[in-house]
């Protein structure tokens, strides 16, 4: 083997890293008439009254901190370690724990889930427990907790959905969701973090388009090793870089920049900011408390988020492209 050719051996690694993230064309898809109605967002008419500590699924569905959880199996996919457990009522929970390296995603995921649910985006039932009692074949002990996501009857996981091709591309809620993720410095905007849920409601079957595994946020944006849950980095990082040709430019360095580059207008971003601005201080505090954050750390994040929301509201009105598809 020629040593001078050694760098060539890295080429497959580069290709392997980039290929999965090559972007598909961004376009709306048409839903067959007999398919369940797609739903990304529902107008939050009671936004100001929403409980951001227990979230949209409420206190009754929350895991009990004093319960004993029986191990079903370890997690064999994804990046973070985790478990599937059963509580004493027989409810099944997917627990995402912290990796031993670097900041944790689970608390961030819960905070962001609370905020997205509050402003109208569908979210599954997720909660945070700092620790819990695990029962396995070797006995009972207290272990590190994390994000608890309940398996709910009537809410079925139907796989992932595409950021690039879905029924909502071009709609205000779709752009608003991206704007909120930008505002939180969410770097992991990947299809593998999206879940399509089949939900049986009073109106019939619906397909919920959910941005779910969204714990890579509240730090810096980046592809390789973005900071997560770091108030220093989050306060320091820029949100909006400017407006160009009628589109908002974000200081975003994460995956799939094509989703936000020259696609979100000031009206889109301001629409998202207006929704977030309706959240009270109490609601913000509850969202971070739901993720297990100490009040002083939460206050720093909330301050930075408020500052960013202020930026969205300062964007000039009337610079958006006309003829936007209807909201859904």
């Amino acid at each position: 083997m020629d040593r001078s050719r050694a760098p060539l051996t890295l080429l497959p690694a580069f290709v392997a890293m980039y290929l999965p993230f090559c972007a598909a064309e961004i376009r709306p898809t048409i839903v067959p008439p007999d398919a369940p109605a797609p739903s990304l967002w529902v107008e939050p008419i009671d936004l100001e009254d929403r409980d951001l500590f227990y979230g949209p699924w409420g206190r009754e569905r929350a895991p009990r901190p004093d319960d004993r959880y029986i191990l079903v199996q370890h997690k064999h996919s994804g990046i973070n370690p985790g478990l599937t457990v059963l509580d004493s009522e027989g409810r099944e929970w997917s627990v995402k724990q912290a990796s031993e390296e670097g900041p944790v995603e689970a608390p961030i995921e819960v905070v962001l889930s609370r905020v997205l649910a509050a402003v109208g985006y569908h979210q599954p039932p997720v909660y945070y427990l700092g620790s819990f009692t695990l029962v396995d074949d070797w006995g009972t002990r207290t272990v590190a907790g994390g994000r608890f996501r309940a398996k709910v009857k009537g809410l079925k996981d139907r796989g992932e959905w595409s950021w690039q091709q879905n029924p909502f591309v071009g709609t205000r809620p779709y752009h608003g969701l991206l704007a909120i993720l930008m505002l939180f410095n969410s770097s992991d905007i990947k299809n593998s973090n999206n879940t399509l849920y089949e939900f049986k409601s009073a109106r019939g079957l619906e397909h919920w388009y959910v941005a779910r595994d969204i714990g890579t946020a509240l730090g810096t944006t980046g592809r390789l090793a973005p900071e997560k849950g770091n108030p220093d980095a989050f306060e320091r990082d820029r949100f909006i870089a400017g407006i160009r040709d009628g589109y908002v430019e974000f200081d975003y360095h994460g995956w799939h920049q094509e989703l936000v580059r020259r696609r979100l207008t000031p009206d889109d971003v301001r629409w998202a900011g207006d929704l977030l601005a309706r959240l009270s201080d109490r609601q913000w505090s509850d969202a971070f408390r739901a993720g297990g954050y100490e009040p002083d750390i939460a206050a720093r994040f909330i301050g930075a988020l408020r500052h960013r929301i202020g930026q969205t509201q300062q964007l000039a009105i009337g610079t958006s492209a006309a003829g936007r598809p209807q909201e859904r």
Binding site: F14, H74, I79, P81, Q97, E100, D137, A225
Partner: protein
């Protein structure tokens, strides 16, 4: 994209342990912590930002695999090659869990710097009888192109260096009974198909003579072809290490008995006894870890029996006597001790000072610690795996410098259940 994190990621993957033996077996569950408290232990000095983020990325991509939650799917096989294969090996692997944690199917292949090639497949029922029992089977094919040999005995000269190529296939069935969470008894019954010995080959040849040319009268070469071996092993182990690839507390204590039976004429049959212990003691708020390791191997054979040189216990190299070549000494018995003090310079970089001592001998009573190595080194690691180390060692045969992609006391040979042929420290 910066190249640094990619290189770090690849190196870290090399150090990732192959897989946990049973999912619910020795795991150290993390203690509860608040979000702001979770993170690696700190070093004495502030860590450079670029290093910290590279390690975080590495850990994110490589993930965790020594707590029993190894992921289903494709993985890079970096860690399954014997001593002497060269500084790097790489290949594809695929594993899949079935029925939750209850059944594992795993297959991988790899090729190394010196063109060592290996392929293995494993099937395991991992959690029978409430995790008290695991049974499985593994088959491995390997082509080791440049195995070094210096002759038998502690006085074998370094100038006698020669090499042989060995191809072999081995299959094993095993069962593990877990008496306690960390205490296990394992039984293995295996078959080592006729090893093929030939002149050295592969890449990055060192120009050494073929063993067959140097030792034409050795019983191994006067035999028309090598026999097949049946082997049985019985092992008792207590493993309390927090991580296999970067242990900072706990220990591994094991003892084992092995019987190899020549299936042709019985001439190469022998038995082997092993006792081994490694302990990792954190001190000074974990800024300092004292690592100690001791290993005794005793082989025995009847008067009419001979232990073939490729199955003789051997000593020397990057994870035993670091001032000596790989496979430097061979004899029926060996003893080695290693002591290493590791100071966390920064969160992910340790400085180490070490002492190795040991020897080989024809009988246990003649063993001593005459061969020594003193040295210093640096270890780059995540919180659970050492993925790069640089060691400088000095001993009676001069200086040696190492770059390796694993912890010297990782004991990765213990993850290979198939026949240890050749015997590799």
């Amino acid at each position: 994209m910066a190249i640094g994190p990619v290189l770090v990621m690849m190196a870290a993957a090399m150090a990732a342990p192959a897989i946990a033996q049973t999912p619910r077996a020795p795991t150290q569950e993390s203690e509860p912590a608040k979000p702001s408290e979770v993170g690696p232990r700190e070093g004495l000095l502030p860590e450079p930002h670029v290093l910290r983020r590279s390690i975080e990325f590495t850990s994110r991509v490589v993930g965790s695999s020594d707590r029993g939650e190894a992921k289903s799917g494709f993985y890079p096989e970096f860690s399954n090659m014997v001593t002497g294969a060269g500084w790097i090996s790489v290949g594809p692997g695929y594993r899949h869990w079935f029925f939750g944690d209850r059944m594992l199917v795993d297959g991988s292949a790899a090729i190394s710097w010196r063109s060592y090639k290996t392929a293995q497949a494993r099937f395991e029922l991992t959690n029978l009888a409430h995790s008290r029992l695991a049974i499985g089977s593994q088959v491995r094919w390997q082509d080791l192109t440049q195995v070094t040999y210096f002759g038998e005995g502690a006085v074998a000269l370094e100038s006698n260096r020669n090499e042989y190529r060995m191809k072999s296939t081995s299959v094993v069935g095993y069962s593990v009974v877990r008496l306690l969470r960390q205490l296990a008894i394992e039984g293995r019954v295996g078959w080592l198909g006729r090893p093929e010995l030939s002149a050295p080959g592969g890449t990055f040849r060192r120009g050494n003579m073929a063993t067959r040319d140097v030792l034409p009268d050795d019983p191994v070469f006067t035999t028309l072809r090598q026999p097949s071996y049946a082997y049985q092993e019985l092992l008792l182990s207590l493993d309390t290490r927090n991580h296999r690839s970067y242990p900072t507390r706990g220990g591994l204590y094991r003892t084992g008995w092995t019987r190899y039976s020549d299936q042709d004429e019985g001439r190469f049959s022998f038995r082997r006894f092993e006792a081994e212990g490694a302990h990792f003691l954190p001190m000074a708020r974990s800024h300092l870890v004292l690592a100690t390791h001791g290993w005794l191997v005793a082989s025995g054979a009847n008067e009419s029996e001979i232990i073939p040189f490729y199955l003789l216990p051997s000593l020397g190299g990057h994870n035993s006597l670091r001032a000596y070549s790989d496979f430097r000494f061979h004899d029926r018995n060996l003893v080695v001790v290693n002591a290493e003090a590791r100071v966390a310079l920064v969160t992910h970089l340790d400085a180490a000072a070490f002492l190795d001592a040991g020897n080989v001998a024809p009988s246990v009573g003649e063993l001593n610690f005459e061969k020594t190595a003193l040295g210093i080194g640096l270890r780059l690691h995540t919180q659970r795996a050492t993925f790069a180390r640089f060691d400088i060692a000095h001993g009676q045969e001069g200086w040696r410098f190492f770059f390796r992609t694993s912890d010297p006391l990782q004991l990765s040979r213990l993850l290979r259940r198939t026949a240890a042929a050749p015997f590799a420290p």
